[in-house]
Symmetry: D4
Subunit: 252 residues, 8 copies
């Protein structure tokens, strides 16, 4: 027998198994940047069924490029615990700032989220949402390649009990909910103020619509907070906090 | 003082430090797919100064997409040792085939290469090579963004004692050397035959021009071997072997 | 329970069932234009496991547009039997020419091929071939959307006993075989001469490499025959003939 | 005499005959997706002069791609009658859901609409409408290729007694009427809720402006209904219902 | 009755009449630049059935832009007779050079060719040729919009006794004949030398393959003559000469 | 001496002469479609200094393509006088409709406008206007090629006593005036109603702002009239009427 | 040692030195057209730390193209002093107008700004601003190549005491401030009136938000002034005036 | 009178004066990078009529971007004299290397070439050459915007006694001469070796065809020399040398 057919069967079969399992999860996280990955890590670690959908081919979002393609990023002291959990190294720069290799951060967070048990689907675009009884009930997904190719092909759906919008500046899940329910409005990100943004993002990480949580830069887009630069403390802490909030919610 | 300026200084300063250090390395690896990352991992672990240049924003190359966007890949039994070294999990499919999560493989290999000490530069395109006395002497690099933007901007150079072409199907470093020296010729990849390719790729992993080594699918392009599908045993073993060969070479 | 999850499960599950079944077929037909569909129809009707791969979203190839967007086509008298088999109507124009609605022809041939039992996969691109012991052993396939999106994603493979190249003017499967084995050469299509082409295409429908058959305009590309215009008699007859040849071949 | 000239004459002449006949029809259907094709089938079967204009090269709209390129779709039990009429096979999935091959559905509905006598024009874009005495009087059409090519070329017109907007999510005919008369407004499609949408689409299939009927997803766009996924029961029933409504209307 | 339907019928009907008549002509001229239009004018004036096919929307080719968008052109004294025939004004610049308004020249030549009786088809691309018994027998045409739109749609054919290649720098009809018969080769246009080119173009205007004539810049492409700038004497004289040659040929 | 330099001098010098003369004209017409050309013809014939600016390479606007690329157009009986003035032939279709060759109409109107003395500048885009004392004072022009090339290059200006907006559906000069003065508003073209539009366009041809006149489809855009199809009576009559209005105005 | 590594070290090291120094400047000028360069020149000459950020590869903005690609520009008599300061030649045209070579003006202003001590960064895009206590505090910058390449990469920041918006027609810094603070509104540029614009631009050169100054065409965009053509007196004077204003401001 | 018309007249008139004067020059330099500008500077300073044609909007070529967008470049000690002549500052890096601000170098060389009297035409593309009696006789030029816009517009010509190809890596003038005369062949640039290239470029700066000289990177393309990085000593020296060679040549 030809070996290649075994490979095809193994890959397609195992993927389908994973996909069919994720048709119903506890939590769907949209966006695989820093906050989404951290949220996935802590939720999966706590035993929840987590499905994370990332639009691009690779995970890590805006981390890879550091600042202006200089692939280093800064993390504040109060978030080092999360780096420690993920086994990511840092170098002290001054009393409150630590420098981290952008590639280590991107790959390390991804690697740990998977090892913690999160099911990650890349190349998947979230086109729409499902809402039942004024509560998030799931997502409408499609291949990103379908969107790029401009092909007219129907999406499919996955159900879940909670959705985390970790899509960043666009807060694209919140945008869909805002446009289609009228029960949520987005203030839009403000000008850069890293210091203020870092704190405010963590503080405002919350449930913005029944079953819909925001984390990371999506928080800024919803609450009109300042933007941040290539500094990731607030993002990581927001990811951890959203995991806590979802955990609380799903307990009931 | 404004905190953002500290961030700018930390990132730009630390990146430049890393870049200036990499102006002279022991080994330059071109391409951050499976073979390149494995080679970087074993060489760095052995104490060599390794600089890896990747054209894209993220590392991992063709691993992320699995087979046809089904993000699983297959690894053969004889390469499990490498997965074990990198802490990557696998599921047995049959006696010789194991299924691995593509995202775990991509992020895990990247994460481990960095932790082992390799300096990774993403978003960098290798435009040309430096040869002195008929031996590889370095690379001519530029930002990928410059190429995409179609801007007319000069490249810069980095020097090294050995170059590993891990660019995949294109074998793009070998191509430049072939075109500019006439002392190397590329047979071109053949039709798919996973089984045969897997073995042949490892066997033919070698030094193809003084100071220039090939690994992974670049081996197939140079020696006219069959292509492989989403099966990664040969790629990983070829990456480990090229690390051995470079080690030998640099000993003298 | 949410109804949408049932839909997702039904579609993904049933598709995967069909795909895994087609990982090994008797015949793989590449290209869903007139000749490919007719070949699929007669082979499936004769009980063979037929998988047809079409690059585009819809089946029917160049039939839909008729001549210069005037959606009518011409069929000669000697091919009316095939139209009768497929329940497609025609209007007599003169003693040898019959006019057919292009849309009826495209949809009718597709509909009949499926009803006869062929498994049709649209949106699939054939990237490469598998050859074992100098004989076609299968195809290397990928999503067309991957190619359009310019994403770097590995293909997968399907195995079969015979391949029919019904890709039209490009004869793209033959091209791959020619380039990679050197044992086949393509003469290239000549200038238009409908009358001559019609006969020659049927006559030259044949096995051009062990296990590889050509039909329709691919025949013209391989043998250097004239091109045809929007006249389909020869195409239909070539499709029926290739089905006969494959049948013969697979009998042993 | 050269045979090709006969072919040119046959095709161009017969197409023009069909086009000139369609310059005045009973019903113009815009859009050849599932609802438009079903409407065309039942109206033509009832003896009406039906002209269907489709923008793309092929008919079938979004059916071909199934859900996320998995070319299967789901139909509910209450629409099986329509599948039976069109000779399309289905496989029972559970008590209310049946799985259908997407390609069979797309080609089968097209094939049957033509056999029932509908005149189908593909590659035609509807640019504008004609209204006389506050009632739809016809359509302003052009080649789709003209629009793609960005050429400045005038359209032409066809007259009819009723127009069916089966253009899907865009409800593009309704949009033109809304923008140019101010007597119609579009609520816009809501988030996905297949179950609810299926029923509501059929219920709201109606005449939205004198002589203008909506069917399929256009209904959702006009009435602000939820979207559906790759489930086609409601679409088929809406197509059959709109045929009934038009029939009623044209009786007077 | 709605007036627009009359307009549709008048335009479509009358165009089709003209097209069907041109399915068989005496001469097909490809390209509506200066030489093609002059050839059409003199041939039509002499009573031949002339069909001219122009790829673009407007006729006149490169005349409209003058030199570097300065819409004036130069004509030499020996070609003034042709301008006089067409009622086009000129202003003396020096003893041998006259300045003409580019727009007057482009529109005047077009206007006169039509009034002389030539049937002009714009927006038509010549994809291929028909050859019978080693003699030009006709052209394979398609809409230019089809080519721009990248749609897969079959062409149609027209028959004629002589073909004039007036396509300019590309000599595209000659190119097709060269590639498909091997009995014609193109030397390629040389560097600019207006003076020499002007004379040589007229001198070499000739029949290059049985039934195929070249005129204007196509002559330069076939015979390897120098290019010309925005000076049109030689082009006009070549157009008149090719008309003479075709006249001779068709007399027998 | 090299002849080419004479050609360069003749073309550049003569063009500049014409351009510098047009820096101050009586009337600037923007747009070289049917109405603009007819207006240019009658104004130039009456001794006014007319400069016509056309964005494209060729003149004639939407005439060339006829209806849906069928290059015929319809003209009503009441506009035949204008065709007679321009020497353009027509064929009677019924009592009120005449069919004209689109290419003859486009080239004939252009040719006659120039012969009457209008200075026509093609390849020129009108970017802005000049207004002094609440009255049109001139135009701000640039090369169309600059706009297409997306180069950042300043425009230049020409002065005149009256401006005719003959830009068609966009009414682009009126749009600029509306946006920048707030003293003009555009109703926007309505749905097609050829009969009604034809009359209304002529009736509403007028001065819409001191020194700014509209003609042709620009009238429809300003006054919210229906669109027309490929029927040109109203366009031609509107062009003649605007010439009358400008003549009146400039008399004082 | 390989010489190229010295070059790399020299360039990267020296650039980084300059960049890190500019992380905190007195004044940041955005846009390197005429006004920005003049402002940079006078401010640097007066001993201020000036950083100028230009989006494009080259400095000089719209000067290079003159008027309509004719590379000459006009400067009025009252601005000759600035040309004299920069050693740029002019030719008298009439009593108030002088003609200057566009290339000399563009390169001369750039050359002089640098020699005066301004730090110029080309290829840098200003994405956002920093505001602290309702006062401009710095800029958020990124590589232009990142924006063109459509890569998702974080920006970095630079701090300063005053920002000069010299971005031209877009007034892009003012636009960001307007959108994000709501404390500034832009009237938008009006139609061309060179004479009036020239004076008004100088008069309105001012501080529009604490720490944010406008100069050149940005003034017109903010205050709703007319546009200018290729006449540069007002631009140069505005640049000199803004330098004065900033000087005043920073004195305290 | 309206002031803008004066501006239009001044700019267009003065440009045309300069252009018509350049219709015949002593030397035409193609390409305004470092070598072309230096050559223009020394030739103009020596009293020759110099016309320099640059394809882009700005002059300076590849200098502006420094190395990898770090806008600094390196110049060797032996070329400092040229920097001194042009008033460009440098900072000593080590015994043989000096660092120069890229923007100062680009603008300073341009500024000085103009002040020395060279006539510079930007936005001009050289399409072809003129050769008489086997000697360069001039250039065929067109607007770059015409090429970008893909418009079909004829070029014009300028005559000269010598042509300098300073087009860089492409050696585009040499390429045209090679292709059209067959009397010149290009070896193509080799891999980077700054040190060797610097010397070889100066040494090989020469007349490669009667009347055609190469300088800068064009020398490398013709003679197959190594490429250089962002180090400009050899380029400057080559520019000065080519000026000497042309001077010699034109003396007779």
């Amino acid at each position: 027998m030809i070996e290649e057919t075994t490979i095809t069967r193994a890959i397609a079969g195992k993927y389908m198994e994973k996909l069919l399992k994720s048709v119903e999860s506890d939590v769907c996280i949209v966006g695989g940047g820093p906050s989404g990955l951290v949220a996935a890590y802590y939720l999966a670690k706590n035993g929840f069924d987590v499905s994370l959908f990332e639009k691009k081919l690779s995970l890590g979002g805006g981390i890879w490029g550091g600042g202006m393609m200089f692939n280093r990023v800064v993390v504040q002291g109060n978030a080092l615990e999360i780096l420690d959990d993920a086994g990511i190294e840092y170098e002290k720069y001054d009393d409150t700032h630590y420098v981290v290799d952008a590639i280590e951060l991107a790959s390390g967070l991804t690697y740990n989220a998977i090892k913690a048990g999160a099911a990650i689907f890349n190349l998947i675009n979230v086109e729409d949402v499902m809402i039942r009884d004024d509560r998030m009930a799931g997502l409408v997904i499609n291949w990103t390649a379908v969107e790029i190719s401009n092909l007219h092909i129907d999406p499919m759906t996955v159900a879940c009990k909670a959705v985390v919008d970790a899509t960043g500046h666009d807060a694209s899940v919140c945008n869909i909910v805002a446009r289609k329910t009228g029960k949520l409005s987005l203030a839009g990100e403000k000008y850069m103020w890293a210091e203020k943004a870092e704190e405010a993002v963590v503080e405002n990480t919350s449930e913005v619509y029944p079953g819909l949580f925001v984390t990371g830069m999506s928080v800024a887009a919803v609450y009109g907070l300042p933007r941040m630069g290539p500094i990731f403390g607030g993002m990581l802490l927001s990811g951890r906090k959203v995991a806590e909030l979802v955990k609380e919610k799903l307990r009931y």
